[in-house]
C-alpha cells in the first residue's frame, strides 16, 4: 500500500473471515438449541452467557480488527465498558429490593 498515509491497512486473508463466519453460525445454532431443548437453571445461564461472550469476542477481535490494533486503542475502547458491571450489580440489588417490597405491600 504505497500511497495510504494514515493507515497500516487491515489486510487479512478471506479464509480467516470465512472461518469466523462459520464459527458464528455454529455458536448461534448452539445458543438457539439451548432454548429449543428447554435447558434450565445454571446450565442454561452458563451456556447462554458463554456463547454470547464467545460470539462478541469473535466479532470484535476479527471482524472489527481489534486483535491487530495497538493496545492503546484497544484498552481505550474495551476497558470503559467494564464500569457497566458496577451499574448492573447496583441495579440487580435495587431490583431485588423492589421485588421484595412489592411482594410485601402490593399483593
Amino acid at each position: 500500500m504505497e500511497s495510504t498515509p494514515a493507515s497500516h491497512s487491515q489486510q487479512h486473508p478471506i479464509s480467516l473471515y470465512l472461518k469466523v463466519w462459520g464459527a458464528l453460525f455454529v455458536l448461534s445454532t448452539l445458543s438457539y438449541l439451548v432454548d429449543y431443548f428447554g435447558l434450565h437453571g445454571l446450565l442454561r445461564w452458563g451456556l447462554i452467557i458463554a456463547l454470547m461472550l464467545a460470539k462478541a469476542g469473535l466479532i470484535v477481535a476479527v471482524f472489527m480488527h481489534m486483535a491487530w490494533e495497538r493496545l492503546a486503542l484497544a484498552s481505550a475502547i474495551l476497558l470503559p465498558p467494564l464500569a457497566l458491571l458496577v451499574l448492573v450489580a447496583l441495579m440487580a440489588i435495587e431490583a431485588d429490593q423492589m421485588l421484595v417490597v412489592r411482594q410485601l405491600f402490593f399483593r
Binding site: T4, L71, I77, P81, L87, M98, L99
Partner: protein, 232 residues
C-alpha cells in the same frame, strides 16, 4: 492527522515499542495517543463506545424491571414462536434474523478486504448485498412488531404477563432496528461513492473499514439482545 507528523513531533522516546511499553509510551509522550489510527477510525470507535453505554442502559433497565416485577414475565420462547405446519417452533423468526445479520457481517468483512485490495466494484457489490441483508432484517423485525401489536402487546400492557414487557421490547428492538436502518443508508451512501470512484484519487479506502466497524457493531449489539432478551 497522519503518522508522519506524529513520529516527527517527538524527539525523545520513540513510541515504536508495542505491548505494555507501547501503551505507556503512546499515552504519555505529549503526542497523538492513537498512533497510526486515522481520526475517522478513532472517532468511530469512540462513538461506538458511547453507543455501547446507551444499549447497556436499556438492557440494564430491562433487567431491573424484569427482576423487580412480581407478575410473571411472558415466556419469550412462546411469545416469539412461529407456527410451521401446525406446530409451534420457538424463536424461529429470531433465529433466522440472527443468521441474516451474521451473514451480513460476513459480507461486510469481505467488502473491507476487497476495498483494501482496491477492488472497488466487488467492494461496492458486497456492501450493497450487506445493505440488502440488513433491510431484510428490518423487514422481519417489522413483521414481528406487527404480529405482537395484533396480539395486543402495548408499551403499557399485554395479555401475556408483566406489563413492562411491551416497553422493554419496543424500546430495545426499536432502537436496534433504527441502528440497522441508519446503517443500511450509510452503507448505500459509501457504496455509491465507491462506484463513482470518489476514493480513487486519494487511494484511501479506509472509509469502507470505518463503515464496516459501525455495521459489525450493530451485529454485536444483536448478539447481546438475542442472549439477554430472547433466551432469558
Amino acid at each position: 492527522m497522519n503518522a508522519a507528523s506524529a513520529t516527527s513531533a517527538v524527539g525523545v522516546a520513540p513510541p515504536s515499542a508495542l505491548g505494555w511499553r507501547g501503551l505507556v509510551a503512546d499515552w504519555s509522550s505529549d503526542q497523538q495517543a492513537f498512533v497510526k489510527v486515522s481520526w475517522g477510525k478513532a472517532m468511530m470507535w469512540i462513538f461506538l463506545l458511547s453507543d455501547t453505554f446507551v444499549f447497556s442502559c436499556f438492557l440494564t433497565g430491562y433487567m431491573t424491571v424484569r427482576t423487580g416485577s412480581p407478575v410473571a414475565w411472558p415466556n419469550p420462547s412462546e411469545v416469539f414462536a412461529l407456527n410451521v405446519g401446525g406446530r409451534p417452533l420457538p424463536l424461529l423468526l429470531i433465529a433466522i434474523m440472527t443468521f441474516v445479520l451474521i451473514t451480513s457481517s460476513g459480507t461486510m468483512a469481505m467488502a473491507v478486504n476487497c476495498a483494501y485490495r482496491r477492488d472497488r466494484i466487488n467492494a461496492a457489490t458486497l456492501m450493497i448485498i450487506t445493505a440488502g441483508l440488513g433491510e431484510t432484517f428490518v423487514g422481519m423485525q417489522a413483521f414481528e412488531w406487527t404480529k405482537l401489536i395484533l396480539e395486543g402487546v402495548r408499551p403499557w400492557s399485554n395479555p401475556m404477563g408483566a406489563a413492562q414487557f411491551g416497553a422493554s421490547f419496543f424500546m430495545i428492538t426499536g432502537f436496534h432496528g433504527l441502528h440497522v436502518t441508519i446503517g443500511v443508508i450509510y452503507l448505500l451512501v459509501v457504496a455509491t461513492r465507491l462506484l463513482r470512484g470518489r476514493y480513487e484519487q486519494r487511494a484511501n479506502y479506509q472509509i469502507v473499514e470505518v463503515a464496516g466497524l459501525y455495521w459489525h457493531f450493530v451485529d454485536l449489539v444483536w448478539v447481546f439482545i438475542f442472549a439477554l432478551f430472547y433466551l432469558w
